[in-house]
Amino acid sequence: MALNRKIAYIDLSTGEVETAPIPVMMRKLYLGGRGLDIYLLYNHLEPGVDPLGPENVLLVSAGLLAGTLASASARSHLAAKSPLTGFVGSTNMGGFFAPELRWAGFDHLVIKGKAESPVYLWVHDGEIEIEEASHLWGEDTFETQDLIRQEWGDPEVKVVCIGLAGERLVRFANVRTGLKNSGGRTGIGAVMGSKNLKAVAVRGTMDIEIEYPEEALKYNKEIIDKICSTKFAQIMQRWGTMFIYGATNSTGLIRCRNFQLNQLVGGNIECEHIDEYSIGTEGCFGCSIHCRHKYIIKDGPYAGVYAQGPEYTSQGAFGMEVGCNNFETILAGNYLVNKYGLDTLETGSMIAWAMELYEKGILTDKDTEGLKLEWGNDEAVLEMVERIAKRKGLGDILAEGPLRAIERIGEESRPYCIQVKGMSNLHSDERPTPSLALGIATASRGSDHLRSRPAIDLYHLPEALLKKIYGYPTPYDGPLSSDYTTYEGKPRQVQWHEMCYEAVDCLGICKFHTIFLSPNLLGFDEFSKLIYYNTGLEISPQEVWEIADRAYTLERLFNIREGLGREDDWLVDRYFDEPTPLGLEIARNKVLDREKFKQMIDEYYALHGWDEKGVPRPETLKRLGLDKEPSHML
């Protein structure tokens, strides 16, 4: 059955490996993936430990439906205490690793301690072995995967690994699988590096028995038809997430030159340019969209490079944020961060911040060792990627992430650093969009667009449709507005998307198949049916919401245990003090209103059942069964 995958506890210090079944009761409480990971993290991690010390706990998992007949059920999740923020570290990626992990018999790996020398985990058909990896240390993320596959003589081995950045403990080092997929955020790659863990390799041939295979197949066909009929999917199939740039840059909703502008005027880096380089598209396991391009760079120092992507985030990182208007710079930057194992978003944001500091004289040629960190200097941007990955000069400071870099550069640099909870913001400008601003201010893993972003708020949907979406599966009778510049009803939208994204992160389904960028995609009814047909578990849409609520609240409890307070759910002053200078009328001359923003946070806390300080109320904990955590049931 689909529920018989195990949990493994691996101690890298002692070499001990233990396995255990996952009780159905725990599935009903947390499903799997991100949900069970936060339970395990909260229960196995001592508060206050050094995220880069052996006491940190690393979780590697597959979503509950990964490898089943649920569409796009490809997502794996990794968690730890974040070395970037000090709060919950959590990252999620597609590809083929998660299904393979489940075919190898496991859903969750709990990795503790630190190996004496580099190792990797070899997980195969119910067995886990710790393999020597000194020969892999120093290899990039592409080579590492190839070398492991060669060792086992099996091209179907799937690998999650780190690159140079993870080995050198860059605090925003990512984890990678395949040519494209990255678990980018919160620095999980540095946690792996701190444990001398170069990779986790998996190969499995243990079938996942689908509970109702005929119904599951039929339902999946319905879902694929539904997804592929949307305009969103048809555009994604052609150009991937890069399509978002067309609307956001046109409107004036992007960060340009760090945070000085909200539009790249004359921008020539639209998604359509990928047609000149693309040799086709690929998808993750079970996906009908295939949103990533395979491309070859034609000219310049990176001519001949073959890579996959880029995403919208790399357009920002190596385009708008750094003032570059050259599509090949985006392709090259995307390749470099993937090769070294760096979070593209954080890398671009840190470089853009350094460029503004250079412009203002806070950083000088002496600091940059002569590198001209000027807006639009493509070569300098790509050189900084190298320096960050190798921790060279200024790159070593930026590799520490926003808050530690501020400490080293000086307080005068702080106002220009666009971050929340120590993690940089996406290259979007949320000053005209209170809902999106609330999402990044309150997201549990630090500023982030994949935890709660109500992106469909930008579509000016009719209020009747908004009520239908946001009034279910839990009732909501409050206001909702089609106008994305208002503050009305936005806390509910943020809360709803938190629950939706948490649910699919537990299930291992891609967010692009949910009500994220299209109102016509999957929601809680579909999640409930997918769980039933594939696993036999009867979990109503309301119960899916409750599970998501439980997991999200536990993430909140984890953060509070690590010192989080209401003041951390806030944005830097520039959001409130500097009006947007460019864009369409709806986005121009906009700042966030502090008082209204505070009211939104109050409302958001109330919707969650948290008090005015953002602490879950006792009755909330009791309702969710969290009043006795840590309960040590796994």
């Binding site: 048809q234 067309g246 046109s250 409107t251 921008g267 639209e270 369409l584 009328e585």
Partner: protein, 69 residues
């Protein structure tokens, strides 16, 4: 394409990012002007039946921004 009260949803129609009105774009057109507010947009085609706004006509941008004020 899904049939709606407005006709075949998405067939060569885009939503103006300035005024949010939907308007029809001539097949294979690369530039279109919103009949409601007059903003000019560059258009691309993910497939022959589906139009998408690629970006503003930057040459007209300054003039239009000034008018917007």
């Amino acid at each position: 394409m899904k049939e709606t009260k407005k006709g075949k949803e998405g067939l060569g129609k885009v939503r103006c990012l300035n005024c949010f009105e939907r308007f029809e774009v001539a097949p294979r057109a690369e530039i279109a002007t919103c009949p409601s507010c007059g903003w000019e947009w560059r258009i691309s085609w993910p497939n022959p039946k589906l139009a998408k706004i690629r970006g503003p006509v930057w040459e007209a941008w300054e003039k239009l921004q000034t008018r917007g004020e």
